[in-house]
Symmetry: C2
């Protein structure tokens, strides 16, 4: 089990520079006032494919050998990783097949198809996506690009942490804390590796849907805890059974604690981002912002929030912004 | 009548650097494919207050004398300029009063109030906002910050042109054309001053709502033409009676032609920006993108589109994204 290091994140940063979008760090007075401290939102919804996942997928696919490239890649994903892999594979001229849950939002499966990848659907409640992917990969001699529990993927995700540490320095801000949406914990692990070196004063928190707080409970227990269920939150991007082995090995050392927010709080954060930041967030991409708006992040100094994705079906988004604010 | 120069834009760029948001230049394969050429969207909806107007307002208010600062500023605006002036005045500790049309979207008047400015409403069809503003300014000894027909305001708006010329250079793109939403033509004039020096190969186009194409007709006639009506498009940010005197003096020399798009095409562009770029655009902020998506911009090389604002009422945005794509 290869555990990624800060050096791996630095290498990925060099590799991906100019290839991924250096997403902006947004702020506004309304957000500072609502949270009661300076808040900066790293808008990864503006990343290629509308989510940070393109970083890790690119870092993996750009390192394939010639033989691996022709056999192609296989991935399993709730949606954003699928699109990241499909886009990175298409750019590299590598065939891609994605195993996706049958209840995935259409906006996510449409993106995968538009990017030329093939889809195999599975049932989130009864089937094991990793087994399905492994079987297909073995048949084809293809490389699996895991969504989070992989050193190269984690290093790629960490490039967002390198960027926002640089961006804080550029504007003269010394952050007190950073909050990262966590499904399998790969984005958190990558950012934690970067920030433990570049912003060692900052506390690092995960953000999860309230009933899928496996990270929060795992940090408290000191060992991996599973979620009681595998579906039932609108935050489809964050519904994983438990933290990854590699991600948890990193995060249990570097993360201060887990935070969580309800689906309604995620909706309120989507409305806030629409009204004041002019960005589109999906529910799972808005949970970290929701914990900030709920005043749940310890400390009083500058806070960085990762807004991880914006792939949301129009009907849901329309409903969320039409609801009256709380 | 002081006509601004490239040097004025450069000075404004130095003054505003670090004060305004260096908004990102966004792109995606779906957009390139839809338009049939490389397209880059300068996302000024991510500017402070959700629109480029903050640039010009800041450039003016940062140059007030001490005596002028205590008397305060007065502005007249369909909404985005009002918010730009209110925000820049609040930051500078200067009192602001804004004359706004009675039919302005609530999202725009709410922002002005939240930023501590006072509002006087007028009827867009029967009253003259400039006369109202001048009367109030005379009574108070206050400085008027005009929305577009002012050399200092135009120079401030031009900083967006400086930025996106720099951003094109950073990514090695030589743009063939740039399209800018035009109401009074101040944003176009500022950008044209910057681009005629920095990207002299690029053609410059205005974009207007189809029935409010005063710039398009004025360029053809060689002199200022008025719109037949003053209301009746959902693109509230772009409904001005005619080009400004100063803006037209600049634009008639530097702009190639005027383009336009229907309200429905603006809605389609808002949907596209929502789905593929993950940004929120108001109708008037999406017209330039609409002309690009409609294939109306001459040439085949790289194209830069200004997305000028994102201040749209949630109910309208929900309706637009819920409509089925054409």
């Amino acid at each position: 089990m290869k555990i990624p290091t800060f050096a791996d994140v630095c290498e990925a940063h060099d590799r991906l520079c100019g290839h991924v979008v250096r997403t902006p760090l947004l702020r506004c007075d309304a957000l500072d006032n609502a949270v009661g401290r300076p808040v900066f939102v790293k808008a990864e919804c503006l990343q290629t494919t509308g989510a940070f996942k393109y970083r890790g997928a690119s870092n993996r696919i750009m390192q394939l050998t010639e033989a691996e490239r022709s056999a192609g890649v296989v991935a399993y994903s709730s949606g954003n990783h699928a699109n990241g892999v499909a886009a990175a594979a298409q750019e590299a001229g590598v065939p891609a097949l994605i195993v996706m849950p049958a209840d995935v939002p259409a906006v996510k499966s449409d993106g995968v198809k538009a990017r030329g990848a093939k889809i195999v659907y599975y049932d989130r409640q009864t089937e094991n996506r990793e087994e399905i992917a492994q079987k297909i990969a073995q048949e084809r001699g293809a490389v699996i690009v895991p969504p989070y529990d992989d050193a190269i993927v984690i290093a790629g995700q960490g490039t967002a942490g390198m960027e926002c540490a640089e961006q804080c320095q550029e504007i003269g801000v010394t952050p007190d804390a950073i909050v990262v949406n966590a499904g399998g914990g790969g984005f958190t692990a990558g950012i934690a590796l970067a920030w433990s070196e570049l912003c060692p004063q900052a506390r690092i928190y995960t953000a999860e849907p309230a009933e899928f707080n496996d990270h929060e409970r795992s940090f408290k227990a000191g060992e991996k805890q599973r979620n009681a269920k595998l579906a039932g939150s609108v935050c489809d991007a964050l519904l994983t059974p438990e933290p990854g082995d590699i991600t948890f090995a990193v995060n249990k050392k570097l993360v201060s604690a887990g935070l969580c927010a309800s689906d309604d709080e995620a909706f309120a954060a989507m409305r806030f981002a629409f009204s004041h930041l002019k960005i589109v967030l999906e529910p799972g991409g808005a949970v970290a912002l929701a914990t900030a708006l709920a005043g749940r992040v310890p400390g009083e100094g500058p806070l960085v929030v990762l807004a991880t994705g914006g792939n949301v079906d129009p009907a849901l988004f329309a409903q969320v912004i039409s609801d009256r604010p709380d």
